[in-house]
């Protein structure tokens, strides 16, 4: 979980200050709380936690390691001067104003769609997690 937060530091080094702050807010304020609550709600009393035994450890590690080696050699061999934007200057200063302008002009539809998707997903998540038989019980009592 710490590594998910440290990604924000990498964003700062890449000159993406707005994205770093958004990342910290979403991951600490949202996803960390969600994961903590779901770990708390799915704990069993009889045996402490089911994550002690793992499966096919060496096979999985070798698959992941071979994929990393493949990507590493690809990255080292790639000729970066063929990129279209290679000679353009790097970002200097803050990007917040530009991101705001672009979200309100060029990427407006994607921005609105992202908002709708997020709203539908949160409504669906709360509907899925509701225990419907207990809701019926409460309704009968009322």
């Amino acid at each position: 979980m710490v590594s998910l937060i440290c990604v924000a530091g990498v964003y700062v080094f890449a000159g993406a200050d707005f994205l770093a702050i958004a990342h910290i807010m979403i991951y600490i304020g949202g996803i960390l709380v969600l994961i903590l609550f779901s770990i708390m709600l799915t704990r069993r009393n009889e045996n402490p936690y089911p994550s002690s035994k793992n499966r096919a450890v060496w096979l999985s590690i070798s698959v992941a390691l071979s994929m990393f080696i493949l990507l590493f050699t690809l990255i080292l061999k790639f000729n970066y001067t063929t990129l279209a934007n290679y000679s353009k200057p790097f970002i200097t200063g803050s990007t917040i104003q530009l991101i705001g302008q672009l979200l309100m002009t060029k990427h407006l539809i994607a921005f609105e769609l992202a908002g709708i998707v997020l709203m539908v997903a949160l409504m669906g998540a709360s509907w899925i997690a509701t225990q419907h038989n207990e809701v019926e019980k409460i309704k009968k009592h009322a």
Partner: protein
């Protein structure tokens, strides 16, 4: 600070992707598998942001990374709700024990 070569970001992202893949494959706990998926999404985001440095007037990489962040949040909330529902139904979130389709 702006002189870091792009290769270093790409290597970091590749390492993060490999760690996330290993987590998804190894862990039995469904929540840990979801955290592995989050790691892989973050690796993709680092790549997008690293290539966005060369694109100072359009910032397409950073905007796409922003939308990926939104989708990752939506995915995490839905998946954790499903994990809680599965736990209430099967009394376990061990992925190897969830074998029934029609419960």
């Amino acid at each position: 600070m702006h002189n870091i070569p792009t290769q270093h970001f790409l290597i970091l992202a590749a390492a993060l992707l490999a760690i996330g893949l290993a987590m998804v494959l190894i862990k039995k706990n469904a929540i840990m598998v979801l955290m592995g998926i989050e790691l892989m999404l973050n690796a993709a985001n680092i790549n997008l942001v690293a290539f966005s440095r060369n694109d100072a007037d359009q910032l397409q990489g950073q905007l796409l990374a922003l939308f990926v962040l939104v989708i990752a949040a939506a995915e995490a909330s839905i998946a954790l709700a499903m994990v809680i529902k599965i736990f209430h139904h099967f009394k376990t979130i061990d992925l190897d024990e969830l074998k029934e389709l029609k419960g």
